[in-house]
Symmetry: C2
Subunit: 351 residues, 2 copies
Amino acid sequence: MRREIFVGSVGIGGKHPVSIQSMTNTDTRDVDATLGQIRGLATMGCDIVRVALPAADAVGAFARIVRDSPLPVIADVHFDASLALAALESGAHGLRINPGNIGDRRRLVPVIRSAAERNIPIRIGVNAGSLEKRFRDCETPRPRSMVDSLMEHVRFFEDQGFTRIKISLKSSRVRETVEANRLAAATCNYPIHLGITEAGSGLEGEVKSAVGIGALLLEGIGDTIRVSLTADPLREVRVAKALLAAIGLRNTGIEVISCPTCARTSVDLISLVDEVKARLERLQTNRPLTVAVMGCEVNGPGEAREADLGLAFSRARGFLFRRGKIIAQVDVTEAVERLEAEVLRVLDSES
Amino acid sequence: MRREIFVGSVGIGGKHPVSIQSMTNTDTRDVDATLGQIRGLATMGCDIVRVALPAADAVGAFARIVRDSPLPVIADVHFDASLALAALESGAHGLRINPGNIGDRRRLVPVIRSAAERNIPIRIGVNAGSLEKRFRDCETPRPRSMVDSLMEHVRFFEDQGFTRIKISLKSSRVRETVEANRLAAATCNYPIHLGITEAGSGLEGEVKSAVGIGALLLEGIGDTIRVSLTADPLREVRVAKALLAAIGLRNTGIEVISCPTCARTSVDLISLVDEVKARLERLQTNRPLTVAVMGCEVNGPGEAREADLGLAFSRARGFLFRRGKIIAQVDVTEAVERLEAEVLRVLDSES
């Protein structure tokens, strides 16, 4: 089990569930815009937000953001150790730095001391894209040299008596990220922040993140995740939630499983599933419930039987299942409504 | 290494690259609609198409589809062994059956004999949702009982002297699918068809498929894949291509990596990346080329340096990189055009 740290009230490592992070992309100096984005992220299910503190003229705004944010705030600081100190003094719940770009390491000593006094954790993040020259140019395979760079920084923090550490190793290449994190997980037991950096935008970025982060989570590696997309941060949280749900690490209420349709499907299943998802999304329950919507008699009855509630079509006839038993034969036109009513009945009876 | 089979001209297993499959969802009796969908899938990059043969009155249409299809066609047959025979006689390049729903096993003997005479491979597909009752109700963990069911079928085929076999083990649950396929890969060396069945629709279905299929591919398990979505089959192929590209198993031409944006980003990077992707998509090259578009000076220069071509912004100034060297300083307004011109130059000079 990994060591445990706390970012505000959110525990990371130990027995804590994998938490979701995102990062604001508003101008930090614009307090209202940034807080607005953070509130949106909180509503969407984000657990921790990261905010860049790019320059001294943003410190005042950053402090106000931390004060009013509904989520714990991690300050993202690069290049300048004095900004890291300012972030801590502003009440940041966590600090993320890449020691490789801070310059002379001695500049970190007062930062580490201040974080220790305030019980604030620091993420030591190594990115393949900003690896120090001597680790970049060596013969060592990249995942190993990323871990070598990381552990050198970690030891420096440990030498200062500081162990409230979270680590991260990110690359824009999936295999490199997976291998680097496996190595790191075997090398130390600090909690691990996972992400594919610079994954890009759209489907390509989402798939890259899902594969890389997902493969590691399936191995039990990863204590908090961020899906990095060139997109609205809200989308990062949606993808992260879908990812944790896919692996069974987060209960996201009602899960709809449905078949891919084929020549056997005699109803407009794609539209039916869209309607089922739209209706069930409104129910806002956190109770885990599986609902299967299936188009034909091949896997239909089987999946419908294994789900809490199921709707399976065989030609134009629909069969409603509850906990494995057929409870009604329904017409296509009324199928979605009958299913929703049945879901409500289950939620009511068991709440 | 896995045994090798051929579906038409497409090799599966052995040293063949992982191939992409999808399935038509038109009415198989409608030859024009089905062929139209297959042509669309071929253009999108699909390698093999599966077509359901649901009933005897679709056999004539199925034969015409096989004859005119630009892709090898696998017949998807359930329940009825005589339809499997008809599919083989119609020239199908492959057959997919679930022996568990064919009834008395002896009905498979003429099917196996006919496939052997024609050198046609058969996929033996076990789905968690249609597992036979005695495997479903036992105490054995589900992944193991899926493999037990599969291997019982496999041995029956082997007893008939038939080894032109492809196997699949699908579940709508990611972990179950991953574990079942790991067990199967360790148990026999037939080529493996991967998929998460009934993954559902939208982001949830795409993420489930990416995680489950991707985790196995990263372990070297899987010879052909199908992303099953309750959606247009074209989308299945797009997701499959993104997945293989993410893992480095398929070269999909130009890869755009880009940062997630944050308060440091001083340009409208999301729009810039969209424009870059739209322009580069039109170039239709299969040469692998990495293009980085980065919003700030933290990882920007590093990623831009490692990519074949890079565009990194530092405040409002853009820097164009080619193979690690800055070749120009560019204004935001001209940046995308300059980058595209540089990509064209690289493609021209090396073609």
